[in-house]
């Protein structure tokens, strides 16, 4: 269960790529784990490392020393497309990333991220472009992500508001998870099941396979 999501201030890791798929975020060969440990090492693995394990030249953005400790990833359109692997947000969070700013997130990734204390912040294309310009101009510029007021504070007095699903927001701010909510729905679930016979029994073999 993630900790309560509190406002934080951080510089930005710029990743100006569109359609970053979850195979890039965590390559499939790192999905053989049965826990969530060690995934920070797998993050963007094939963009960071040569086959022999040495860092690529030029160094991928994540491994530039000035990027260490940064918690905001500024990424291109359609971040997190492809596979449903929750290892992708697990790896981003293990690295220390707490927010991804983009123009759109893939549906499954967005849901997975929100369940793991990783906030997808979707902004309009023009604001997105301005953010990349800002970071290009001032690479160490710090932004403050304030989920409670749904605003990213930019330098000066500028605020960038963003939308978030109200239920997900509540879960994040309280550091609670959806399973607890669902378990609390047991009476409704029982009532629904009493009125709806099961569609299949996976254990029962009724005939021969065609």
């Amino acid at each position: 269960m993630p900790d309560a999501y509190e406002a934080f201030t951080s510089a930005v890791i710029p990743l100006p790529k569109e359609n970053v798929d979850t195979d890039q975020i965590v390559p499939a060969r790192y999905l053989k784990v049965t826990d969530k440990e060690g995934l920070a090492d797998a993050l963007f693995r094939d963009w960071r490392f040569e086959a022999d394990g040495g860092l690529k030249e030029p160094t991928f953005i994540l491994d530039k020393p000035q990027m260490y400790g940064r918690r905001i990833l500024l990424a291109g359109d359609n971040f997190g497309c492809g596979s449903s692997r929750e290892h992708a947000p697990w790896a981003l969070v293990a690295w220390g990333i707490r927010a991804v700013i983009t123009t759109s997130c893939a549906d499954i990734f967005r849901g997975n991220a929100l369940k793991n204390g990783l906030l997808p912040i979707v902004v309009e294309h023009e604001r997105h472009r301005q953010l990349f310009e800002l970071v290009a101009r001032e690479p160490d510029v710090e932004l403050t992500v304030d989920l409670a007021s749904q605003v990213v504070h930019l330098p000066g007095d500028e605020d960038l508001p963003f939308d978030v699903d109200p239920f997900s927001k509540l879960m994040l701010l309280e550091g609670t998870d959806e399973l607890g909510y669902l378990l609390g729905k047991a009476p409704s679930i029982e009532a629904w099941e009493a009125a709806h016979p099961p569609r299949v029994d996976t254990r029962e073999h009724t005939g021969t396979s065609a």
Binding site: D46, P89, L182, W192
Partner: protein, 479 residues
């Protein structure tokens, strides 16, 4: 209830358990498919909270992603993969979940065995920790991929928290030309709308060309809905659907069958029901399709030339195209036909069913693959493998110089040792051409089984319409 409803609306309305103001709907799940890769942490979560699986009899598991496709009497050499498969076996035993594991005659890719066992039925809600769960939408089921946290929720409560998706009508009219198949239809859609075109939506595939397709072909199309950003893609159930289901192991029988069919006939979208978005594609204008880039939306008619990044319009698109062509080591303006290939992979949840293998075999019969090409044919399930062997397809693949393997996801996701070497080119019937998807540094051209088979013979990307007897080949397939 007033108003016309879509197929998705009807399934959704049937499964809403509860709705609190401000919260997503609690949606009941009829069938939960489980595999070894995305489930271990969910079972760990259950143990930590002292929870049981609410409905093990609505849950079914198989091992497909990390399993070798070498003979089954050999051990799993990869220790991590072996541990993961063993963990699945332990979890299923402990929580009472039926497992079609390694060595079982019903083992296979989760999206191949669900339909094959008759577990996938119209009107159901179906989930799996796997984005290609959209495959099951071919039966008129609302089927979508979920993350591991959601796997845990479904195990514990048989429910999920979901917002109602928007609907996207994908109308495919006209008739497919010989040599053009379901895979080409979905690749053409993706090339048209892009990999984020369906985000936030569920596709409903409709129109004469869809109605004319077999269930296997409908599954190929629904399978790749996620490649267009849509979590699910559905086809209304019809006689083709019922004919496929009748007599399957878990399909209803007798009076239960009759009442099920009556219920299923009420599912199709009402005349006049509104979709949030719509797109129309003329099937008769389609050529065989092939991808050239590093996402499934980067596809072209096979006779086309690689696009020029300088003509891409905006900067970010140009950069994306440049990166893709650099990774693929392709030049703007070069033809795709004739591009040398090293490996041809036929299989996956997209194109690893019996009709796919029949098509590929028909194209390969009496021919040899080109020198230096490796052809790997991986059946989608053990049952598909047995059927193919009954029909002698394995012999055709072997005689052509191909490698006939055991069932699994194999080189589609390259977790099990079946993979490309850096720099190699593959024509693949799978679903993703992402960088490194089929092995670090490997380069993937996505295409149909016919295009894959034709390319294996040529040793280069080849147009399946030039295969001798293509008019009759297109009729090969079956239900």
């Amino acid at each position: 209830m007033a108003g016309q409803r879509t197929l998705v609306d009807k399934i959704w309305d049937d499964h809403v358990v509860a709705e609190d103001a401000g919260a997503p709907s609690v949606l009941a799940i009829d069938l939960h498919l489980v595999h070894e890769v995305t489930s271990p942490q969910a079972f760990t979560g259950l143990r930590r909270r002292g929870l049981k699986v609410r409905h093990p009899e609505r849950t079914v598991a198989t091992a497909d992603h990390s399993v070798p496709t070498t003979p089954r009497n050999l051990p799993i050499l990869d220790e991590l993969a072996a541990a993961q498969v063993a963990q699945l076996e332990t979890n299923c035993r402990e929580f009472g979940i039926p497992l079609h594991g390694l060595g079982s005659p019903s083992q296979g890719i989760v999206h191949v065995i669900g339909p094959q066992l008759g577990l996938t039925q119209p009107g159901m809600t179906i989930v799996c920790g796997d984005s290609h769960t959209s495959t099951h939408g071919a039966f008129g089921a609302l089927a979508f991929g979920i993350g591991t946290s959601e796997v845990e929720m479904v195990l514990a409560t048989q429910c999920l928290l979901q917002r109602r998706p928007k609907t996207y009508e994908v109308r495919i009219d006209g008739r497919l030309a010989p040599g053009v198949s379901a895979k080409d239809v979905i690749l053409a859609l993706l090339a048209r709308i892009g990999v984020a075109g369906g985000t936030g939506h569920v596709f409903e595939y409709r129109g004469g060309a869809i109605e004319a397709l077999s269930m296997d072909q409908r599954m190929t199309i629904c399978n790749m809905s996620i490649e267009g950003g849509a979590r699910a893609g559905l086809v209304a159930p019809d006689d083709t659907t019922f004919e496929y289901l009748a007599g399957r192991e878990h399909a209803p029988e007798g009076a239960a069958w009759d009442s099920a069919v009556a219920r299923w006939r009420s599912l199709p979208t009402d005349d006049g029901a509104a979709f949030d978005r719509s797109v129309t594609i003329d099937a008769s204008a389609l050529e065989p399709m092939i991808t050239y880039g590093t996402n499934p939306g980067m596809g072209l008619p096979i006779s086309a030339r690689v696009p020029d990044p300088d003509a891409a319009g905006d900067d970010s698109r140009r950069r994306g195209l440049e990166q893709a062509l650099s990774y693929m080591d392709l030049q703007p303006g070069q033809p795709l036909l004739g591009q040398k290939v090293d490996v041809v992979f036929i299989g996956s949840c997209t194109n690893g069913r019996i009709s796919d293998l029949r098509l590929a075999a028909a194209a390969l019969k009496g021919r040899r693959i080109a020198d230096g090409v490796r052809l790997m044919v991986v059946p989608g399930s053990d049952e598909v493998k047995r059927e193919a062997e009954r029909e002698g397809l394995d012999e055709i693949f072997r005689s052509a110089g191909g490698d006939w393997r055991e069932a699994g996801c194999s080189m589609c996701i390259a977790m099990n040792g079946d993979q490309l070497s850096p720099g190699q080119y593959a024509v693949s019937t799978s679903n993703r051409n992402f960088e490194g998807r089929q092995g670090k540094g490997g380069r993937t051209f996505l295409a149909s089984p016919l295009t894959a088979a034709a390319s294996a013979v040529a040793g280069a990307i080849a147009d399946p319409r030039l295969l001798p007897g293509i008019e009759t080949l297109a009729a090969v397939g079956g239900r």
